[in-house]
Amino acid sequence: MSTHEDVLSSENLPHEPERATLEGKNKFMGFWFFLGGETVLFASLFGTYLALKNSFGDAEGTPSQELFGLPLVFIMTVILLTSSLTSVYGIYHMKNQAFKKMMVWFTITVLLGASFLGLEVYEFNHYVHEFHHTFTAHAFGSAFYALVGFHGAHVAFGLLWFLTLMFRNAKRGLNLYNAPKFYLVSLYWHFIDVVWVFIFTVVYLMGKVG
């Protein structure tokens, strides 16, 4: 392929525009590898959480069975899973070079992500005020907020990333320069969802079971 090719043109994109250039291929690989590293990062957080779950030492604390409420977590889960699907739709339209439709689906994704984050803030607030379940109260609190908070921070970062990309490229459409970026942010978004699947299972459901 000629090096003169204009990566900023939106005409005649190849099949799989996210991996059509060397830069795109590199980003694609690099980001997957990064996710491999993130796996270990979250594993350390999960392991620590499991080691410190319901561990209060001399401090007072509410055990997980009484603390967690499942309805809210269920709603949050459905929201996040749905946002994963909507971002898949975004990529579907990207591959068909339907930029407008892609933007619509990503907008929905962002809205869902934001509502997830809103609910999470509400949830944390509830724990703090109803149960004095804080980051500093005891080791359980520290481990809980570290794990779930790290995930929440990932969601927040994902939202910022989506928004930056969407605003930056709103006017100029899809091209070989930004297609890899859109592809990566959607991978990131799915990964956030993957982590959440384990969070709702390991933290909330297993917390409820005891």
């Binding site: 690989m29 491999g36 999960f46 392991g47 080691a51 561990s55 269920f74 699907l85 898949v88 005891g210």
Partner: protein, 106 residues
């Protein structure tokens, strides 16, 4: 560059292919929601802990594999290295969790 009719034909081909993929992805999503409901249901249903915990863990793992293979396209060509790295990460992750839950004085 291919001539116009040819590239149209190609476009058509890829569109069909993407549609096909999308169908699987919607099915994936339906399964994920179903799994989630089952998992929550099991916990709400007040069964024995020793029954529930293994099942919901398996459900989570399967659900995540769906995400990885369909939503994140690990099933497609050109994903050999990503798979290798993700599963190496999972290997390190499993060891980490195993150690922190068993030999940490708890």
């Amino acid at each position: 560059m291919a001539d116009n009719t040819n590239s149209n034909y190609q476009d058509q081909f890829f569109k069909e292919k993407h549609k096909e993929e999308m169908k699987y992805q919607v099915i994936t999503f339906a399964m994920m929601i179903a799994f989630t409901i089952i998992a929550f249901g099991l916990v709400v249903g007040d069964f024995s802990k020793y029954l529930v915990v293994p099942i919901i863990l398996v459900l989570a793992v399967v659900q995540v594999l769906f995400q990885l293979y369909y939503f994140m396209h690990l099933n497609q060509k050109g994903h050999e290295m990503p798979s290798l790295m993700i599963f190496s990460g999972v290997f390190a992750a499993v060891l980490t969790i195993l150690a922190l839950t068993t030999i940490t004085w708890i």
